[in-house]
């Protein structure tokens, strides 16, 4: 990797097309320019992550006094302090976030899969109209929704509860759009017809025939929605007043606010930020192959 950044004077950057003899395969020749550009981009993207790794090992005094990337030995003390904060409130935020993103993501997949399958595999009155209206939802900015959603949920007494964050997160026009594409592409009509001839009910055909065929695409729908809910800030920020219901984003933002008056809190904020990105980063690295998104065709390629 270090070698890649070194200049390679013998090699020309552009393809010359005059390859002869054993060097005929141009793929072997590599370009230092493009490699360097990518590595600079990678370094830029890793900089804050590298910093938070180092900074969370520093004590409150060291955070603002020692060199940025000079590590220290206080990581476990910092985790202990953070865990002790108001009886483990931080871990409750983590659990809440997992609940919002996990349950919300799963419910969203169920709703998107049924709706997408219904739109893709049946001819019925109003199909086009329903699809167009649902699709228009992709472009609705969250801003017009958040405040009236709050007021409407307040009418039924659901604000400041888990439901206030969970329920609005379930509907995902983009998820329905994707699920429709997967259903159309991966479930053949004759398979459905064959199952019908065998006397299977429509719901059973969906559950036992369509869902297994659509499942790789449904994983992607889940991941999208999971990340969207995990990263969401405005909805819980507006809906929740009780800090025991906060997800990690709202919780850490509040903790940072307190740091303004008690700088000792900053160490906890930094440690909390580090711990909070570990689960999502792990999820990304383990499920990388599902992240190939073609927005223009709307499909996710395997």
């Amino acid at each position: 990797m270090t070698a890649a950044t070194l200049p390679a004077p013998a090699r020309a950057v552009g393809a010359t097309g005059t390859e002869v003899g054993p060097r005929r395969d141009p793929r072997r020749r590599w370009s230092p320019t493009s490699t360097l550009i990518l590595l600079v981009g990678a370094a830029y993207c890793l900089l804050p992550v590298a910093w938070v790794l180092v900074a969370s090992s520093k004590s409150a005094a060291e955070l603002f006094s020692t060199f940025t990337f000079a590590p220290s030995t206080h990581l476990f003390d910092n985790i202990k302090t953070l865990s002790a904060y108001r009886g483990g409130l931080y871990w409750r935020w983590m659990a809440n976030t997992a609940l919002y993103a996990g349950v919300g993501g799963l419910a969203s997949v169920v709703v998107s899969a049924t709706a997408g399958y219904g739109l893709a595999k049946y001819q019925f009155a109003g199909r086009k109209a329903i699809f167009n209206v649902l699709l228009a939802g992709v472009l609705v900015p969250g801003v017009v929704l958040a405040i009236p959603q709050y007021l409407l949920l307040a009418h039924v007494g659901l604000t400041n509860t888990y439901w206030a964050v969970l329920l609005p997160s379930i509907i995902s026009p983009y998820g329905i759009y994707l699920a429709r594409i997967y259903a159309a592409a991966s479930v053949p009509d004759d398979v459905i017809e064959a199952a019908r001839t065998d006397g299977a009910s429509e719901l059973r055909i969906f559950r036992s025939v369509a869902v297994p065929m659509m499942s790789p695409g449904l994983v992607t729908v889940f991941l999208f929605q999971f990340v969207a809910i995990w990263n969401n800030f405005m909805l819980p920020y507006i809906m929740l007043g009780n800090d025991r219901l906060y997800p990690i984003t709202v919780g850490l933002s509040g903790l940072l606010n307190q740091g303004a008056s008690q700088p000792a809190m900053y160490t906890s904020v930094v440690t909390g930020a580090l711990l909070s990105i570990i689960p999502l980063v792990a999820l990304f690295l383990s499920l990388q192959r599902y992240w190939q998104v073609d927005l223009a065709a709307g499909a996710v390629k395997e």
């Binding site: 990797m1 890649a4 552009g14 097309g17 793929r27 020749r29 590599w30 370009s31 590595l39 981009g41 990678a42 370094a43 993207c45 804050p48 992550v49 910093w51 938070v52 900074a55 955070l63 940025t68 709703v111 049924t114 219904g118 049946y122 019925f124 009155a125 649902l134 472009l139 900015p141 801003v143 017009v144 405040i147 009236p148 329920l167 379930i170 509907i171 026009p173 019908r196 429509e202 969906f206 990340v227 995990w230 800030f233 405005m234 507006i238 984003t249 850490l252 933002s253 940072l256 303004a260 904020v269 930020a273 909070s276 980063v281 990304f284 992240w291 073609d294 927005l295 223009a296 390629k301």
Partner: protein, 323 residues
């Protein structure tokens, strides 16, 4: 077409259900069953709130007497008064100007980098591709609040490695969180967080291009840069357009980054972006009516910008086809 289907459907549904007919009827009804959860949720959490927002934006509270006790405050029709107030509010106009500048900084920078990185990833002659792809995509896994928090600390002169180096070199560098520069500080966070996702979108489109399309050009002695610019980029233009539209919508709604940075600097006001103003009006000032009007204005502007852009791009694409 709609009417036809209903007419066909009605007699079947009412006829005696025997044998194969029962199946026909059940798969006429089934799609509505499958769509019911989505439609109910769509109405409850999208259609109804939008309608309610519009309703609120056209009303105001009238206080009678001293405004004490029940019934002293009631909703009255306000016409477009809330809109007039919102559109002429200097704080709102300032926040719109700020977000406009912010968008001009973020969107071209982010998509330019995303396209550049995607092309590099697509080139077989690039080394360390798997590592770079993961590293550049990683920020997508970091919530905007957390990334603002990390960058926020890195902007503080006491923490930043850059200020450390500048200080060593005895350079006097202005604070990035000062009122003139804070917009760049926020823009950098958005670019950092969004480049990787857009890169993956463009890269996926690039991978779908059949290699034969540029192998021939390569044999003809075309350089990699020329192949990228003349063959690859024109093919992935639809993906770039979609990333542009989605980035624009996200830019107009910037909220989490400035709200998170606020405790670290005193240069971000409570009405720094249009959305922050909506939040302040609704929850600090309890004026949900003008907050609703402002949010409808933002939504309409978003629609006009995204559809207008798509129309513009489409008509240009068609005129190119004709010529």
């Amino acid at each position: 077409m709609t009417k036809l289907t209903i007419e066909v459907m009605a007699p079947e549904a009412s006829s005696a259900q025997v044998g194969p007919r029962r199946h026909v009827a059940s798969h006429r009804v089934a799609p509505y069953g499958f769509l019911t959860p989505a439609i109910v949720l769509f109405i409850a959490f999208l259609a109804l709130p939008i309608g309610y927002s519009i309703y609120l934006s056209l009303h105001a509270v009238k206080v009678s007497g001293l405004g004490l006790g029940k019934g002293a405050r009631h909703e009255v029709w306000a016409g477009l008064a809330n809109y007039a107030r919102s559109l002429s509010d200097p704080e709102f106009l300032a926040s719109v100007g700020r977000v406009g500048l912010y968008g001009l900084l973020v969107v071209p920078m982010m998509l330019g980098l995303a396209l550049l990185f995607a092309l590099m990833l697509d080139s077989r002659r690039t080394r360390a591709r798997a590592f770079s792809r993961i590293a550049i995509f990683l920020p997508y896994a970091v919530p905007a609040v957390i990334s603002s928090l990390l960058w926020g600390f890195l902007y503080l002169p006491a923490v930043s490695p850059f200020y450390y180096l500048f200080h060593r070199a005895a350079w006097d560098v202005p604070n990035l969180l000062s009122s003139q520069l804070v917009i760049f500080a926020v823009a950098n966070i958005a670019v950092w967080g969004g480049t990787g996702f857009n890169m993956i979108v463009i890269y996926t489109a690039l991978k779908a291009i059949p290699t034969e399309l540029y192998e021939a050009a390569k044999l003809d002695g075309c350089s990699e840069v020329a192949i990228a610019w003349r063959i690859k980029v024109p093919i992935v233009v639809p993906s770039i357009i979609m990333t542009f539209v989605f980035s624009m919508i996200a830019t107009l709604q910037v909220f989490a980054e400035p709200v998170t940075l606020r405790p670290l600097t005193n240069t971000i006001s409570t009405t720094w972006t249009p959305l922050m103003k909506v939040y302040r009006d609704a929850f600090t000032r309890n004026d949900i009516y003008s907050a609703a009007a402002t949010s409808v204005v933002i939504a309409v502007a978003t629609f006009i910008l995204s559809f207008g852009f798509l129309r513009l791009v489409q008509s240009r694409a068609f005129s190119q086809e004709k010529s």
